[in-house]
C-alpha cells in the first residue's frame, strides 16, 4: 500500500493507483473530460490538473495519468490549479461551445468569457472514442492522424471502415457531441443556461491545502480577492 497526502489528508491506496483514483476514492472531486473508468488513462484534456510536491518546488500534472507515489503531496484545488484549469476551460469554450459538458464546466468554474477567436469544432480530440473502440469494442476502427494543429480523428484514410460495427460506443462516450448545448450563439459562446450557483464556502484562506467536499469546490477561488 502507498500512502499519499491529498489536500492535507493522508490516504492509502494500492500500488498502480493514479492520483485521480486516489482523490476520488476519498471523495475529492476532480473534473475530467478524457478519463473514463474502464478505459486506459490518456491525459489529453488537461482539465484534471492537480498540484504536486512541496513548496516551493511544486508542479502541475494531470491526475489521471500520474501514479500515486509514497509520500506524494497533492493539492486538487489550489489557486494555481484553479487558475490554470480556468484557462483550459476558456480554451475549450473557444473551440467547442456546443458541448453541454464543457458549458457546465465553465459555469461551475465561473468562466464567463472567452477571449479567443471563436471556433465551432465538433471534437476536442480527447480520445475517449478511440480507446472505447479499441479497448472495449475491440474494433480499432478509428484513430488519430496528423499532428499539431492538423491532428484529426477518423478511420484510416477517412474511408468507411470495414472494422466498424456501428456499435455507437464512440458516440456514447463523447463529451463534445453527445450532449448538445443549444443555447450558445455566435457572439456569446458562454451559455450559462444551466448555471449552478456556487455553494458558500467558509474561511478558505485558513485551509489553503484543503477543499470542502462539495462539488465543485472552487467558489472561494472564484471570489474576487
Amino acid at each position: 500500500m502507498i500512502t499519499l497526502n491529498i489536500n492535507g489528508l493522508n490516504v492509502s491506496v494500492e500500488e498502480g493507483t493514479t492520483v485521480l483514483e486516489a482523490a476520488r476514492f476519498i471523495g475529492f472531486p476532480i473534473p475530467t473530460l478524457c478519463h473514463m473508468d474502464g478505459l486506459s488513462p490518456y491525459g489529453a484534456c488537461r482539465v484534471c490538473l492537480v498540484e504536486i510536491g512541496k513548496e516551493p518546488r511544486t508542479k502541475l500534472v494531470s491526475s489521471c495519468t500520474y501514479p500515486a507515489e509514497e509520500g506524494l503531496v497533492v493539492r486538487t484545488a489550489s489557486s494555481r490549479v484553479v487558475r490554470t484549469r480556468r484557462m483550459v476551460i476558456e480554451l475549450l469554450l473557444a473551440s467547442c461551445p456546443q458541448s453541454k459538458v464543457i458549458q457546465d464546466l465553465a459555469s461551475s468554474h465561473g468562466v464567463n468569457k472567452q477571449r479567443f477567436k471563436q471556433e465551432h469544432d465538433d471534437c476536442i480530440l480527447c480520445g475517449l472514442c478511440v480507446r472505447m473502440c479499441s479497448e472495449q469494442m475491440m474494433a480499432k476502427a478509428i484513430g488519430f492522424s496528423g499532428r499539431g494543429n492538423e491532428r484529426a480523428l477518423g478511420t484510416p484514410f477517412n474511408v468507411k471502415s470495414e472494422a466498424c460495427r456501428q456499435c455507437g460506443g464512440c458516440i456514447y462516450v463523447c463529451p463534445a457531441c453527445q450532449l448538445r448545448c443549444s443555447y450558445t450563439e455566435k457572439d456569446s459562446p458562454v451559455c450559462g443556461g444551466c448555471q449552478n450557483l456556487p455553494p458558500p464556502c467558509l474561511e478558505k484562506e485558513k485551509f489553503d491545502d484543503m477543499m470542502c467536499f462539495m462539488s465543485p469546490c472552487v467558489a472561494c477561488e472564484i471570489a474576487p480577492k
Partner: protein, 1054 residues
C-alpha cells in the same frame, strides 16, 4: 580487415598507424560536410585529386576529406598541413596554386584568410579570431578524421578510451569516471550523465537494457549534432560502447532524423567497420563483452526528440510523449530500462577517458564542466559551429568569435535553445552560458542553437515564427499544447498584422503561463518560452506594433508597406514618384513630393535620405535606388506652380491665431500646414531672416541661397505673418503671446548652442564654436577661418564647418580631430567622403586636452591619443586615452563642433509661465501629442529631441500643425495610429530588355575639386533625364503588393 582479438592488438595497430611515414607527408584538408558541399567543396576535392594524379604527386602529398570544421561562413576552404594555413572561400582555379605552395612549404598570401573587418591576414589558422577564442576538444577532432576511414580515427587516438574502459575490467569505475567528470546532458536539460548511467546500471536488466543516442536534431538553426555524426561517427560508437560496458546495456540505438542522409551514410559505414574490426558486436576486443548498435531513422516529427516520444517512435508507434514517471530509466523501450543521451554527450564520453575525468572537469565552471558546441547563425559575421568552455559569456561568442554583426545594424538579442528557448537581449550579453544561468534568464541551453538577431529582426515576428513552428510540430495530444500554441500564434499573427489590442498582451501572457503549466511533455512546457521571453525583454516592440502600428524592423509587411515610405519621417511616397518618373510623368511626381513636404528642393539636396537605408533594391549587397537624386531631378525640372494646395475655406468668425517661435524648418512647416487648415499664424524669428538652420547651419555649396529663398517665400503665404529679430524671453514671453490673443504657441527654437570643450582658454581669439562659425559666414558673410584650421568633432556641423573653412580665403589647411574611429563619426557618410575628397584631413582617435595661446591669440592645441578599449554595451569599443601620448598641433583657427543643444533659458526664465525641461536642455513633451507642461503650448523639432535632421524637423512641424489644429477645434489630441500603406496604383511600365537590377546606381556628377576652393557653387549636380528614368526602373515597386488591382477572374468560354 583484421578483427582484433584483444586490447593489445588494437593498441599495436594504432602504434603502427601512427608510425607510418605516409602520415608525415604534407597534407591538404578539405571539408566535405553538408554546409561546405553546398558551397561546392566536392568540386574542390575533385580538382585537387585530378591535379595530384596529373602531376603524379602521390608520394609527396596526401589529401584529407573530412567532416565539418565549424567555420561554415568561409566554405569551401582548404587547410594545409603542416603549415596550418587556412585558405577560405577557395575557387577551383586556386587549388593547384595551394597544392604547389604546400609542397614548397610556402603560403599563397593572396588566398589566405583575411579578416573582413580589419583586413589582417593570418598565416596560421589558430591565430584567426574565430578559432583562437574557441576550445575545440570535440570539433577539433573532425579535421584529422575522414569519417569513412576507421584507420584515421584509430590513428587520432580513437578507441583508446574504449581500451582504457575495458582494460580496467570494472564497469563501476567507468560510471564513476563519467560521474566524476561532471558531464551534463548536452541535449538541453542538463541532467548529470553519470547519475543517469548509475540509475541504468542499477536497473533490473534481466530482459536487456537500451542505450539510445538522440540524433533527432530538429531545432531551426542548430546543426552541431549533424556535424559530429557526419564528421566523426566513430566517436559516438566508441562513447556508446563505453557506456554499455559501464551500465550493462545490451543494445544501442541511434535515432537519427532522416533529413540527415550524409550522417546516416557515414554512421552506417562506421558501424560496419567497427563490427568488422571487433570493436562492436559479440565479444568486443576479446573481452567477452557484447554490444551492438542499430540505426533508426526518424520520420521528421520534431516532437520525437522528446525522449518518451522518441522511444515510442523506436518501438514503431506514433511519436507521442507519455507521462513520466515511469521514467525511461525504469521503463523504456519495450518496457526495458533505457538511457537516452544526446549526440554531443556521447561524443564527450571518449574524450573524458582520454583526458581523465579530473582534467575534463577542470574546463568550464563548477557544476558545468567541459565544452559546449553552439551553432552560431543569423545576423552574425562568422556563421558556423563554435565550441567553447561552459561559462563563457555570450558577448565573447558573439563579438570575439562571431565577429559581431554581419551588417551595419546593431545586434539586439540572441535566441538560444531553438523553439523551446528564449531571447536574451544585448544588455545581458555578459551572462555566462551554462544551464543554470540561461534558465534564470528565461531561456534554455537546448541543444545549442544560437541565433543572432539585429535591429532588422522583429521580435514579435520571431515569436510568431516559433509559434507557427510549434503549432505544427506539437504532437497534438495535450489539448492545451495543441490549442494553446495555435491561440498564441493567432494572437501574435494579429499583432504583426496591426490587428492587435493591448489587452491581447495580458491574454498572451496568461495563456503562455497556462500552457507552460498544464502540458505533459517538454515541448509543451517550453513552448511558451519564445513568447514569454520576448514579452519580458521586448514588450516595447509589441506595444509599438499595437499602439503605433509600426514595426521598426520593417519586417511585418502589413505594418510596413513600402520601406521607403515608412522610413521617411514625412511619409513621402517615394515609390510613387519614382514610378511616375519611370513613366515620364514628372509633374505628377512633383505633386507627390510636394504634397508630403513643403521644402522639396531643400530635401532633394540635404536630406539624409532614410528612405534609401532600407530600400529593397539595396538588399544583399546591392545598391539602393538613388531616391534623393531622383527627387532632385524632379524639383529642378518641374515648376512648383504645378502643385495647387487644397486650402480650407475662409471661415466666419475669424479663426484663432497661432504663435510659432522659430522660423526654421519645423516652424515654417507648422505654419504652412496650419495655413492649409485655415489657421493664421505669426512666426517669430530671432535672426534677421527666416530659415533657421537651413540658412545659418547649412552652407551654400550644399544648398544654394536662391533655391532656399524661393521655397521659404512659397511657404509664407497670406495666412502666415513673419516677424524677424524677435527673440523669445527678450521681446516677448509665452504668457505675453497668449495675452496678445494667440490661442496656441508652438516652440520650434531649434538647437543653436554649440557645446563647449570645457578647456581653459576656450575663449581666446581664433577659437570658434561651430554654430557661430557657420552663422558668421552664412548669415553675415564673415570669414572667421584663416591659416591652419582645426575642427574638433565628428558630427555634421563639424564636417560642414571644415568644408566651409576650406572655402574661405587665407586658409592653408583644415584638419578634423575626432575621438573615435571614422566608422563611428555621426556625420553623413557622403559628407565625410566629400570633405576628404576636397582635401580636409582627418585625424581619428585623438582628443584635445589643452588650448595653447599667446597674448590672447590661439597658437595651437595639445592632443591626447586614444586607443580602442573593451566593448561597451552597444558593441562598440570605447576610446581610452593613452597616457603620455600628448602632442601639439599648431593652429591659427580652432572650430569646436562637438554637438549642439537647444537654448532653453528663454522658455524657463519667467515666474509661473515656464515649460518643463528634460535633462535641463530640451523642452519636455508628451511624445504622442507634443504638448508641453503648459496647456496650449507645443514644442517640436530640435528643441524637443535634440539635434536631428532637416527632414525630422519638417516632420515635427507637420505633425504639430495637425495636433494644434485638433487642439483648436477641441478634439482629442491623440488619434489612433493607422499604418501608412501604399494606396494609389501607378501602373508599372513593361520591363525593357535586360534585367534592371543589373544596372548600377546612378551617381550625380559633382563639381571638380579644384573648382570648389574659395567658391560657394553647389557641389552636387542633377542627373540627366535618361539616367533618372533608368534609375527609376531599378525600383522593385514594393507598393504593388498593396495597390495592384486583383486580376479579374478569367472566365472560361463555354
Amino acid at each position: 580487415m583484421a578483427r582484433f582479438g584483444s586490447i593489445e592488438e588494437l593498441h599495436g595497430f594504432r602504434e603502427m598507424l601512427r608510425d607510418n611515414p605516409q602520415g608525415k607527408r604534407p597534407r591538404i584538408v578539405v571539408c566535405a560536410g553538408t554546409a561546405c558541399q553546398a558551397s561546392s567543396s566536392s568540386d574542390i576535392i575533385r580538382i585537387a585529386k585530378k591535379h595530384i594524379i596529373e602531376e603524379n604527386l602521390f608520394d609527396r602529398i596526401s589529401i584529407g576529406i573530412t567532416g565539418c570544421h565549424g567555420f561554415c561562413e568561409m566554405g569551401p576552404f582548404v587547410l594545409t598541413l603542416p603549415q596550418n594555413a587556412f585558405y577560405a572561400q577557395v575557387k577551383l582555379e586556386d587549388v593547384p596554386r595551394i597544392i604547389g605552395a604546400v609542397l614548397a612549404g610556402a603560403y599563397v598570401e593572396d588566398l589566405l584568410y583575411r579578416d573582413p573587418k580589419t583586413g589582417e591576414v593570418y598565416r596560421s589558422r589558430d591565430d584567426i579570431p574565430f578559432f583562437k577564442n574557441q576550445r575545440r576538444s570535440i570539433l577539433g577532432l573532425n579535421q584529422h578524421v575522414d569519417p569513412i576511414r576507421i584507420n584515421d580515427y584509430v590513428a587520432a587516438m580513437g578507441y583508446q578510451a574504449l581500451e582504457l574502459a575495458l582494460g580496467r575490467k570494472d564497469p563501476a569505475w567507468v560510471v564513476g569516471q563519467v560521474k566524476r567528470s561532471g558531464l551534463r546532458g548536452r541535449g538541453g536539460a542538463g541532467f548529470l550523465t553519470g547519475a543517469k548511467w548509475e540509475l541504468l546500471a542499477r536497473a533490473n536488466g534481466s530482459s536487456g537494457k537500451y542505450l539510445v543516442c538522440n540524433a533527432d536534431e530538429g531545432d531551426p538553426g542548430a546543426y552541431m549534432d549533424r556535424s559530429i555524426l557526419e564528421g566523426n561517427p566513430h566517436s559516438i560508437i566508441e562513447g556508446m560502447t563505453i557506456g554499455a560496458y559501464g551500465t550493462g546495456a545490451t543494445e544501442g540505438v541511434v535515432y537519427v532524423r532522416n533529413e540527415y542522409p550524409l550522417a546516416i551514410k557515414h554512421l552506417t559505414i562506421a558501424l560496419r567497420q567497427a563490427r568488422d574490426m571487433g570493436l562492436l558486436g559479440e565479444n568486443i576486443l576479446g573481452t567477452g563483452f557484447s554490444f551492438d548498435v542499430s540505426v533508426v531513422r526518424g520520420a521528421g516529427a520534431f516532437v520525437c526528440g522528446e525522449e518518451t516520444a522518441l522511444m515510442r517512435s523506436i518501438e514503431g508507434r506514433t511519436g507521442e510523449p507519455r507521462q513520466r514517471p515511469p521514467f525511461p530509466i525504469e521503463k523504456g523501450i519495450n518496457g526495458r530500462p533505457t538511457s537516452i543521451n544526446n549526440v554531443e554527450t556521447w561524443a564527450n564520453v571518449p574524450f573524458i577517458f582520454r583526458q581523465g575525468a579530473d582534467e575534463f572537469a577542470r574546463v568550464g565552471t563548477p557544476g558545468n564542466s567541459g565544452t559546449k558546441i553552439f551553432s552560431l547563425v543569423g545576423k552574425i559575421r562568422n556563421t558556423g559551429l563554435v565550441e567553447v568552455p561552459m561559462g563563457v559569456t555570450i558577448r565573447r561568442i558573439v563579438y570575439d568569435i562571431g565577429g559581431g554583426p554581419s551588417g551595419k545594424a546593431r545586434i539586439k538579442a540572441v535566441q538560444t535553445g531553438g523553439p523551446s528557448g528564449g531571447c536574451i537581449p544585448a544588455e545581458k550579453f555578459d551572462l555566462a552560458i551554462d544551464y543554470d544561468s540561461l534558465a534564470k534568464a528565461g531561456s534554455i541551453m537546448g541543444s545549442g542553437g544560437m541565433i543572432v538577431m539585429d535591429e532588422n529582426t522583429c521580435m514579435v515576428d520571431v515569436a510568431r515564427y516559433y509559434m507557427n513552428f510549434l503549432r505544427k510540430e506539437s504532437c497534438g495530444k495535450c489539448f492545451t499544447c495543441r490549442k494553446g500554441t495555435q491561440r498564441m500564434y493567432e494572437l501574435l499573427d494579429d499583432i504583426t498584422k496591426g490587428r492587435g489590442r493591448l489587452e491581447d498582451l495580458d491574454l498572451l501572457k496568461e495563456l503562455a503561463v497556462a500552457v507552460k503549466e498544464s502540458t505533459m511533455c517538454g515541448l509543451g512546457q517550453t513552448a511558451a518560452n519564445p513568447v514569454l521571453s520576448t514579452l519580458k525583454y521586448f514588450r516595447h516592440e509589441y506595444e509599438r506594433h499595437i499602439v503605433d502600428k509600426r514595426c521598426d524592423a520593417l519586417v511585418c509587411k502589413e505594418l510596413t508597406g513600402a520601406a521607403c515610405q515608412r522610413t521617411c519621417p514625412l511619409g513621402t511616397e517615394a515609390w510613387r514618384y519614382v514610378a511616375h518618373i519611370r513613366r515620364g510623368e514628372y509633374d505628377q511626381a512633383y505633386r507627390v513630393i510636394r504634397e508630403a513636404n513643403p521644402f522639396p528642393s531643400v530635401c532633394a539636396r540635404v536630406c539624409n535620405h532614410p528612405c534609401e537605408s532600407r530600400c529593397k533594391a539595396g538588399d544583399g549587397g546591392n545598391q539602393p535606388v538613388a531616391i534623393r537624386a531622383l527627387k532632385r531631378f524632379v524639383v529642378d525640372r518641374v515648376d512648383p506652380s504645378v502643385y495647387k494646395a487644397s486650402k480650407a475655406a475662409k471661415s466666419t468668425p475669424p479663426p484663432p491665431r497661432v504663435a510659432i517661435v522659430g522660423a526654421g524648418p519645423a516652424g515654417l512647416a507648422a505654419a504652412h500646414y496650419l495655413s492649409l487648415q485655415g489657421y493664421p499664424s505669426t512666426v517669430f524669428e530671432s535672426e534677421d531672416r527666416p530659415g533657421g538652420m537651413l540658412w545659418g547651419g547649412i552652407p551654400e555649396y550644399r544648398l544654394p541661397r536662391e533655391t532656399l529663398r524661393k521655397e521659404i517665400d512659397a511657404v509664407v503665404d497670406g495666412n502666415v505673418t513673419l516677424e524677424c529679430k524677435k527673440r523669445l524671453g527678450v521681446d516677448m514671453t509665452i504668457g505675453g503671446l497668449f495675452a496678445e490673443g494667440f490661442k496656441a504657441v508652438f516652440l520650434a527654437l531649434g538647437a543653436h548652442k554649440s557645446r563647449r570643450l570645457g578647456l581653459e582658454g576656450e575663449d581666446v581669439a581664433g577659437v570658434h564654436p561651430s554654430m557661430q562659425f557657420l552663422k558668421a559666414y552664412n548669415l553675415r558673410g564673415e570669414s572667421l577661418a584663416q591659416g591652419h584650421v582645426g575642427v574638433v568633432g565628428g558630427g555634421n556641423s563639424a564636417v560642414d564647418a571644415a568644408r566651409l573653412a576650406l572655402r574661405q580665403k587665407g586658409v592653408k589647411s583644415v584638419t578634423i580631430f575626432y575621438r573615435r574611429t571614422r566608422e563611428e563619426m555621426p556625420a553623413f557618410e557622403e559628407e565625410i567622403e566629400e570633405a576628404l575628397h576636397e582635401g580636409v584631413r582627418l585625424e581619428v582617435l585623438v582628443a584635445p586636452t589643452r588650448i595653447l595661446s599667446k597674448s590672447g591669440k590661439l597658437t595651437g592645441v595639445e592632443l591626447l591619443k586614444n586607443e580602442l578599449g573593451p566593448l561597451d554595451a552597444s558593441g562598440r569599443r570605447a576610446p581610452v586615452p593613452v597616457a603620455g601620448s600628448e602632442h601639439v598641433v599648431e593652429l591659427d583657427t580652432l572650430i569646436v563642433g562637438i554637438g549642439e543643444e537647444p537654448t532653453v533659458e528663454c522658455v524657463t526664465g519667467e515666474n509661473g509661465t515656464s515649460v518643463g525641461l528634460v535633462d535641463g536642455n530640451r523642452v519636455k513633451t508628451d511624445c504622442r501629442t507634443m504638448s508641453t507642461s503648459m496647456p496650449g503650448v507645443f514644442a517640436g523639432g530640435d528643441v524637443e529631441t535634440g539635434p536631428k535632421t532637416v527632414v525630422d524637423a519638417i516632420a515635427a512641424g507637420k505633425k504639430a500643425a495637425a495636433i494644434i489644429g485638433r487642439y483648436l477645434r477641441g478634439e482629442a489630441l491623440e488619434q489612433p495610429a493607422v499604418p501608412a500603406l501604399p494606396r494609389i496604383y501607378v501602373e508599372p511600365m513593361p520591363s525593357g530588355d535586360g534585367d534592371a537590377m543589373d544596372l548600377p546606381r546612378v551617381v550625380p556628377a559633382t563639381l571638380k575639386v579644384e573648382a570648389r576652393r574659395s567658391c560657394m557653387a553647389e557641389v552636387e549636380g542633377v542627373v540627366s533625364e535618361t539616367d533618372a528614368v533608368r534609375e527609376a526602373s531599378r525600383c522593385l515597386r514594393c507598393d504593388l503588393e498593396f495597390t495592384q488591382p486583383k486580376p479579374a477572374a478569367v472566365k472560361e468560354s463555354a
